[in-house]
């Protein structure tokens, strides 16, 4: 299978099953319109006659020979031999956890998927005992995995920061004994950041995700305090301070875009001008009936905006500026192995979310849905039926992924989105798919333009 497209003056061909990417000229591009997956050594006469209406015969033959040589090298129309590996990792250990230390928040963002901080289950903070049990649970259930990831999440995790610090201290005190390496991350709205918290985060967290939607008027429209005031002024200086002291460690300033700011490139560029170089902005996940939701009819406009953003990034990269947009990051030479690419985030199998009272869910987006409760870390039992269901979610068990060109990049999409919008973790959400495919096309094009 191949995927070919024209974007920004580039003719790009992705060979889906090998991952090879080629930039080709018009004659080679037009040849690919006429051939199927079994190339012969030479181009057939009827195809040659058709192409000669537009190109010289010599050019057609040399382009065809080059395509044929890629085909022989399994860099074009290579076969899909991966399905037999889909069963690997179905009984994987749990090595990654989203720890919801606070089901409470000091903001009331309109679009919050966590029901404005409490996931619809009441406002609650995690106790240190439950936090320590979560560390023990992760160590006990992680088998031979060495690297364990724990993301402090909420609600707003800084509302329970003393417990965060103690949990980190506890994990550090026992990780060597169990031959584990904890990687902590935190996702925060930034309101409660102070010098003490900044120093701790920069010392202990391998990544920090800082929420900001971009321009002040955009951010403050939906990211508001309980009394309705925007938070922009209260957080931007905190972020600047944290990042200035962070050195080379990862961070992302991450926003959400809605129908209100389909011109979100301006928000990304605003954050860039503030000095933030590691950026992300994601489409809102919300009920399609809400006025700010991204709907089918918005797709073309969003596609156009991703192209605008790609061009802005290209022009800055060509000047030697550092500019990293999370959803255009792509490592064409290495990246994750094919086995990893078969099942994406592995929620409910390798990755779980834990609530303040210790309840376990397949991921943070399933929290609050009792049908998906997998157990409680305070008694260590886990529902293996739910784990098995999620472990079987892969690009071959999802009908619409099997023949999709993007399957080895998005790996079957977000199971929580699939469930929320399609009622089935195995049925990819169409809007999310279309956005992901457009981002990938732009990401590859940015590579072609800046290599």
């Amino acid at each position: 299978m191949i995927h070919k497209y024209k974007l920004n003056g580039y003719n790009i061909v992705l060979d889906v099953n090998s991952g090879a990417v080629h930039v080709i000229d018009d004659v080679a591009y037009d040849i690919l319109d006429l051939v199927d997956e079994s190339l012969g050594e030479t181009i057939s006469q009827n195809k040659l006659v058709k192409l000669k209406e537009k190109y010289e015969e010599d050019d057609i033959n040399t382009a065809y020979n080059e395509l044929y040589s890629l085909y022989k090298d399994e860099q074009l129309f290579s076969s899909d031999n991966y399905e037999e590996y889909a069963k690997m990792m179905t009984n994987a250990p749990i090595k990654s956890m989203c720890l919801n230390v606070a089901h409470d928040c000091n903001l009331r963002c309109e679009y919050c998927f966590a029901a404005k901080g409490d996931f619809g289950t009441g406002r609650e903070l995690m106790s240190l005992d439950t936090g320590k049990n979560a560390i023990d649970f992760l160590i006990q259930n992680s088998g031979t995995r060495h690297n364990l990831e724990l993301d402090f999440f909420g609600g707003e995790p800084l509302m329970n920061f003393d417990v965060v610090k103690e949990i980190v201290k506890y994990a550090r005190s026992i990780e060597k004994q169990y031959n584990k390496n904890f990687r902590f991350t935190i996702t925060t709205n930034g309101l409660l950041l102070d010098d003490d918290k900044i120093n701790f985060i920069n010392e202990e967290m391998s990544n920090v995700v800082l929420s900001l939607d971009g321009r002040k008027e955009i951010n403050d429209k939906l990211r508001v305090t309980p009394n309705g005031k925007g938070c922009y002024n209260a957080i931007v200086e905190n972020y600047k301070k944290l990042i200035s002291k962070r050195g080379n460690k990862d961070y992302y300033v991450r926003g959400t875009f809605t129908k209100h700011n389909l011109d979100f490139t301006k928000d990304i560029l605003h954050m860039y001008e503030l000095g933030f170089k590691q950026l992300s902005i994601e489409p809102v996940v919300s009920d399609p009936n809400l006025e700010y939701s991204i709907r089918e009819e918005d797709l073309e406009r969003v596609f156009q905006e991703y192209e605008t953003l790609a061009n802005e990034i290209i022009s800055r990269k060509k000047k030697g500026d550092c500019f990293n947009f999370f959803h255009f990051m792509i490592d064409l030479d290495q990246g994750p192995c094919a086995i990893k690419r078969l099942r994406g985030c592995s929620c409910g199998n390798e990755y779980v979310a834990v609530t303040p009272n210790g309840d376990i869910f397949p991921c943070h987006q399933f929290v609050g849905n009792s049908n998906f409760k997998m157990g409680n870390i305070n008694n260590s039992n886990i529902d293996h039926k739910i784990k098995k269901t999620f472990s079987n979610a892969n690009i071959y068990s999802k009908e619409s992924c099997k023949n999709c060109w993007a399957k080895f990049f998005c790996s079957g999409g977000c199971n929580a989105n699939n469930f929320q919008f399609e009622g089935n973790i195995l049925k990819p959400h169409r809007i999310a798919c279309e956005l992901e495919k457009k981002r990938l096309e732009c990401a590859i094009m940015v590579k072609a333009a800046t290599l």
Binding site: N17, S18, G19, A20, V21, H22, V23, I24, D25, D59, T62, A63, E66, L67, S78, A92, P93, K95, R145, N147, E149, D151, T185, T187, N207, V209, Y252, T256, S280, E282, V285, F326, H327, D331, L332, D333, Q334, G335, P336, C337, A338, I339, K340, R341, G344, C345, C347, E350, Y351, F408, F409, C410, S411, G413, C414, N417, L435, R439, L440, K447
Partner: protein, 45 residues
Amino acid sequence: MKHIKTLNKVNLKKSIIKGGCGECQASCQSACKTSCTVANQKCEK
């Protein structure tokens, strides 16, 4: 080549040989949390 510039020399099939160690980051632990992009994760090997 005159008509084609190949941007990478990757072959996903080769990644199977040493793949599946499970040590790399779960994609949702990076910056997304509401979508899924796996191809931007780093391999630990």
